[in-house]
């Protein structure tokens, strides 16, 4: 049941990323290009998504247990530290260079472009590197 629930969540997420245009790096770069020919479309993606999670998350976390699992695992760290900010900054630079964040990069693998494969390999390598450097 856990497998099916996660598969469904992933499928709906993949549908959302592709319907919204997030899996097109050109659109993402157009959204980030605020001082140029700014294309604000993608602000509606985050807007629509957060509208749903903002309303529904408190209700879900108020349930005694998840439907098919034994606990809710939400982040407990509340520190606003250098790690958080430098990590988000490095991620933002990489996002601005490539037009890809992790979800769209993964969903774009099905397009069969070498570029996506190269990006995803570099991204996983970057994750491994972080583990080596900060452990």
């Amino acid at each position: 049941m856990k497998f099916v629930a996660a598969l469904l969540a992933g499928a709906l997420f993949g549908l959302g990323l592709t319907l919204s245009g997030m899996s097109d790096p050109a659109k993402v770069l157009g959204f980030l290009d605020v001082t140029g020919d700014w294309r604000p479309d993608l602000a509606f993606v985050m807007g629509g998504a957060v509208l749903v999670t903002f309303v529904a998350t408190p209700w879900v976390l108020n349930q005694p247990l998840p439907l098919f699992n034994t606990n809710f695992a939400t982040p407990t760290n509340t520190k606003l530290d250098k790690r958080l900010i430098s990590g988000a900054a490095l991620f933002g630079i990489g996002w601005g260079l490539s037009g890809y964040c992790p979800g769209p990069a993964w969903v774009s693998l099905s397009y069969g472009y070498d570029n996506t494969l190269i990006f995803c390999a570099a991204m996983i390598a970057g994750m491994g590197l972080e583990r080596l450097v900060t452990r």
């Binding site: 856990k2 996660a6 598969l7 969540a9 992933g10 050109a26 520190k79 933002g92």
Partner: protein, 139 residues
């Protein structure tokens, strides 16, 4: 339908998917965390199921709903590799990306996520400013 309709519908789908994962399994739909967890563990099974579903959902929308497949982009390979390394390194160091901090974290009213979102949005915008306008779109 105008240019904002599909982004809005897509965004609502992302929100519903995240809520479903939280309600059914009690887990946060943060893609960078799911990717790393699928590779390094623990809880590999549901993470691989999610990643498979992600690919399947994308194919469904392109091949059944007729959403056009984005064209291959012409970013130079070196920039793409640097971008990938930074996205991977940064999302692990900062504990999340657009989905974990953006879609899920803002929904949980997490101050950490708000700071992360503002930081990566600003850095992404400055980076595009530099690549498109300062170095004249040479990249």
């Amino acid at each position: 339908m105008n240019q904002f309709t599909l982004p809005l519908i897509g965004g609502v789908a992302l929100g519903l998917a995240s809520i479903w994962l939280l309600w059914s399994l009690g887990r946060v739909a943060g893609i960078s965390g799911i990717l790393w967890g699928a590779a390094a563990g623990p809880e590999r099974h549901w993470r691989w199921a999610f990643l498979l579903g992600l690919l399947g959902g994308g194919m469904l929308s392109h091949h059944l709903l007729g959403i056009p497949v984005p064209i291959d982009h012409d970013t130079p390979t070196g920039i793409l590799i640097l971008g990938g390394l930074l996205v991977g390194f940064g999302t692990r160091l900062g504990s999340g990306c657009t989905s974990g901090h953006g879609v899920c974290g803002l929904g949980r009213r997490s101050p950490r996520s708000l700071i992360a979102v503002l930081t990566f949005m600003a850095c992404g915008m400055v980076t595009v400013l530099v690549t498109q306008h300062v170095v004249g779109g040479a990249l």
